[in-house]
């Protein structure tokens, strides 16, 4: 018979592992449920946009991976209207890993899943959401919604900013600053850490997310950056 300590540890490991490796939240009842990170995912992680309908050739010389929240996903837009898709062409495959409601730590986790150290073709575009978003568990082992963590915990701004900086620098140092284009739509973050700003010049139907013009403008800015680096 396992001790109380072991049982507790197993539950801790189980709930955290379910999140970290499977993108699932374990509810208080013990029932796992897919994170609601894609629009209309029906609780099953459906609706991801990693596979582009047109620019998906894995053999072409440039493989662009985008990470971020619903702004990267293109909430309330067709996939072909998103900035990720607009970066594609016959020589460029694109992979949209945007996940609604998530923070930078989730983007870093996801990037580490697709990163190939030996590849010279991968380019990563990370659009940082509110810096204070992070993955956080309540005392029952249920993951909070990342954007609500600030309200539901008392983590101070020093530690929130440290958390951003740590994830930011680890990626730059391990992956290479030259392989990453850093963007954001959060005006609180220091500008000198970013290459591009995602401006919202129009809206989707929900009145919250950037519309087609905003995505087009952002895609053009990103193209200018990586063309200038060639």
């Amino acid at each position: 018979m396992s001790s109380k300590k072991e049982t507790y540890s197993n539950k801790v490991h189980h709930n955290v592992d379910k999140f970290y490796y499977d993108n699932h939240r374990v509810r208080k009842s013990g029932k796992p449920q897919a994170l609601n990170i894609y629009q209309n995912n029906n609780g099953k992680l459906e609706g991801g946009r990693q596979h582009d309908p047109i620019y998906n050739n894995e053999n072409v010389g440039r493989q662009i991976y985008t990470f971020g929240c619903s702004w990267t996903y293109g909430w309330d837009l067709e996939q072909t209207q998103t900035f990720t898709h607009l970066l594609g062409d016959e020589n460029t495959a694109v992979h949209n890993y945007g996940a609604g409601g998530t923070g930078l730590d989730f983007a870093v986790k996801t990037l580490s899943e697709v990163y190939m150290p030996e590849s010279r073709r991968q380019i990563f575009i990370i659009t940082v959401p509110h810096f204070f978003r992070r993955t956080w568990f309540d005392d029952d082992g249920v993951i909070l919604r990342a954007w609500q963590v600030k309200e539901q915990t008392d983590i101070n701004e020093y530690n929130n900013y440290y958390n951003f900086l740590h994830n930011y620098e680890l990626l730059n140092r391990f992956v290479g600053r030259d392989k990453i284009i850093w963007g954001t739509w959060d005006m609180d973050l220091p500008k000198d850490k970013f290459d591009v700003f995602f401006e919202r010049i129009d809206y989707t139907d929900d009145g919250l997310h950037p519309g087609p013009k905003s995505h087009k403008q952002y895609a053009n800015r990103i193209k200018e950056i990586y063309e200038s680096k060639r």
Binding site: V12, Y20, Y115, H130, F131, Y161, L208
Partner: protein, 249 residues
Amino acid sequence: MSIKKHFTNWKPPSHKALQITSQDDLITDKIIDVVDKYYYKNVRCNNSGYETPITLYERGSRINDDKNNPNAKYEIHNFGCSWTYGWCLEQKDSFPHLLIEDDIASFNYGAGRTGLDYAVKKVSEVYEKRNHRENRNFIYVITIPHTFRRMFIEDSGMARRSIEKPTAALINEYNHYLYFLHHYEMLNRLVGKDRIIWGTWDNEVPENKLDIFFELHDLASDDRHPGLESHKIYAEKIKNVIKERNLFK
């Protein structure tokens, strides 16, 4: 009136607007200054703005070792806390020193009271500085301290090497384990698990994530840290893993 009209000049709502804080700026210049100094320079600012270096070493840095051959073909980089540093021992008695051979240089980045996040930060500095993405002549030995340790800044802006135990106890086990797991997997995935030897002296770290355990066979003069024999045995375990994995061939 269309809801869109309300959002014409939309920007992310501030904490003040959300009635969470009394200020609009979430990251003030002071916050950036305090965190940047802590992160990049290992310096803390006290309440009166006075800056002091964070104490990481008992008898100075042991990163380099005089015995290292500057032309050694292979490198072992050791990361961890006071157990890696060899607190209360001479440098020559610490396990990183015992790994040195003619063709193998060994570096000791052990820093007292730090946690895994500090170790990973140091790994990232070494990885970049020594261009380990290209030069695959290295091994990282990471000896994980208590998993609840994390870099931490108090509300006053006072930075700590790691969180104090009573404060750590206010954070539940799920978040401690997540913090460990994120650092562990980031290194495995971004650097390569084959290049890392994972050890610990904390028996709360899941066994299946580890290669070796740092056992306490004897004590140093403070009766808390591992003594000579413990370091010797741990060094032998590391050498065995290197041999088994054929890492320096």
